[in-house]
């Protein structure tokens, strides 16, 4: 859960510039070109952050997407206050900033003509953290897929559980996985797309449970944080540790697919579903 504050800071720095500086190779790219290239670096193929709605636009056939469960937003049920203020102020500011009401957008629509239910996490919203609202939306979307016999696709982008909700956020791991379990029992396909970063409690719940786990290139996928592990084992870690490529090598990711190819990849995979 330590990553997202840092990442947000970096993003802010470049936000209003005409140029975008690639976080990986350092290339400067025209903001327009960056956007046209789907926030992917033309030099090194670094896959930058992308908002939920941008993602949805990329994936769905024009006009086919219908948002669901967008009436859900966070709640500060612990009256949580840290050094920087209250959780309530924080998420309200995030709602204002992002225009979305939780860290995930859910809905259904058609991809290359194939009807699917989707949940797309948005890293801008509190670092894509898994709060009660997030879990509720991801579960409700799973239930919608279950009840309508539709494939379910979840795009993850998250720093992990949202600690300002205490154990309530921890329980979202179990809650969302219960939704996956129901899909499993009904043999409804569930595809997980792990994007940069997918860490902590999100990696250890629905994000890792896809019938097929797909990832964008170079995405950080991790349970424990790199620094915590370095402290634990007292030595340096391999360079590619916890990247999508590393996880594929170790058997946890099926395919690494470029952002521009994801729509066709996903519908191709789903075309094999025969129930």
């Amino acid at each position: 859960m330590a990553w997202f504050s840092e990442a947000i800071t970096e993003r802010k720095k470049t936000k209003k510039d005409l140029w975008v500086k690639c976080k990986k190779c350092g290339s400067h790219i025209y903001a327009d070109e960056w956007k046209k290239n789907l926030n992917v670096c033309p030099s090194c193929n670094y896959h930058g952050a992308i908002t939920s709605y941008e993602r949805i636009n990329l994936l769905f056939d024009k006009g086919s997407f219908k948002e669901l469960f967008d009436n859900i937003s966070p709640k500060d049920s612990l009256n949580f206050v840290d050094l920087k203020g209250s959780y309530k102020d924080k998420y309200e500011a995030n709602i204002k900033k992002t225009g979305i009401s939780e860290s995930v957008v859910t809905g259904h629509g058609k991809m290359n003509g194939i009807p699917v239910v989707i949940a797309v996490m948005d890293f801008r919203f509190l670092g894509g953290s898994l709060g009660s609202g997030t879990g509720e939306k991801i579960l409700q979307a799973a239930n919608y897929a279950h009840d309508h016999n539709l494939p379910y696709i979840v795009f993850s982008a998250s720093g992990g559980a949202r600690m300002q909700e205490g154990a309530l956020s921890l329980m979202q791991m179990a809650k969302t996985c219960a939704g996956v379990a129901r899909l499993n029992r009904k043999n409804i396909p569930y595809v997980s797309v792990l994007t940069n970063p997918t860490t902590g409690g999100v990696s250890a719940s629905y994000a890792m449970m896809g019938d097929i786990n797909v990832s964008e290139p170079g995405a950080l996928i991790a349970f424990a944080g790199r620094r915590v592990i370095e402290q634990t084992i007292g030595e340096n870690l391999p360079d590619d540790f916890q990247t999508a490529e590393y996880l594929r090598e170790h058997g946890f990711v099926d395919s690494i697919v470029n952002r521009k190819d994801l729509k066709d990849y996903l519908t191709n995979v789903l075309s094999y579903y025969n129930r």
Binding site: I72, M173, R185, S203, A207, M208, F252
Partner: protein, 291 residues
Amino acid sequence: MGQEIDNIVMDEPKVDEMKKKNKKENASWNIVQVSRHPKRPILQDYISHIVENFVELHGDRYFSDDKAMIGGFAEIGGQKIMLIGHNKGKKTNENIERNFGMAKPDGYRKALRLMKLAQRFNIPVVTFIDTPGAFPGLEAEERGQAEAIAKNLTEMASIEVPIVCVVIGEGGSGGALGIGVGDRILMLSNAIYSVISPEGCASILWRDAAFAPDAAEAMNITAKPLLKHGIIDEIIEEPGEGAHTDVKTVAESIKTSILKNIKPLQKLSIDELIQSRFEKFSAMGKFTVNK
């Protein structure tokens, strides 16, 4: 903005009041101390007090026998169960062998194997939760710590026998939840259950691990608020200064509570059991529903 979907009223101190408080001595932090007390009873203590016939089973059938997670057939007050739990040690050599109760993927996979065995044998599962967290090490990541926990969360939702979970010490994050999806969640009064360690939370949100007591209080990691939030179902009271002052009594209370909680679950059909477990976890979480 929005309508609140639940009616739980928190009597949390106001922000101003909190700032005035001496952060180092709040009630939550005291409980954290008790839950981590060097003499805090561990699973093996409870086994020797309340289990009549423990047939320990070993191995995940993939890679190893993780000694941080133990399990096997057991009898408690005549009730046959599959007992599974984090295995802390007391002496240094025990703690090294058992990795301080921090399981690796192999431990979670072993736990799942035993749950499926319980399903085959048609006996309830009882899990004992007591871990600082899942092991955060290179080999654990490499072998899929995230996958192993995620799979348990998913599969436990569908295990076709009753599952009762007891938080007996530290309920550390995903490593605790990895054996914590059950029909009834019981918790000792000086145990904790948290999404992240107070130190971890403090070092991120307060930028200083020394604020752990504040984080502990803010995150509601103790039994009472967890009961209020519907995360646990029952508090098992510890005697005196804590479980370590009277292991026998607390062991008996645990036994009584387990037996009492298993009974009604055994009357449910498999479909009712799975459905009610699903509904239980579906109901967890507090959020705002906007009009």
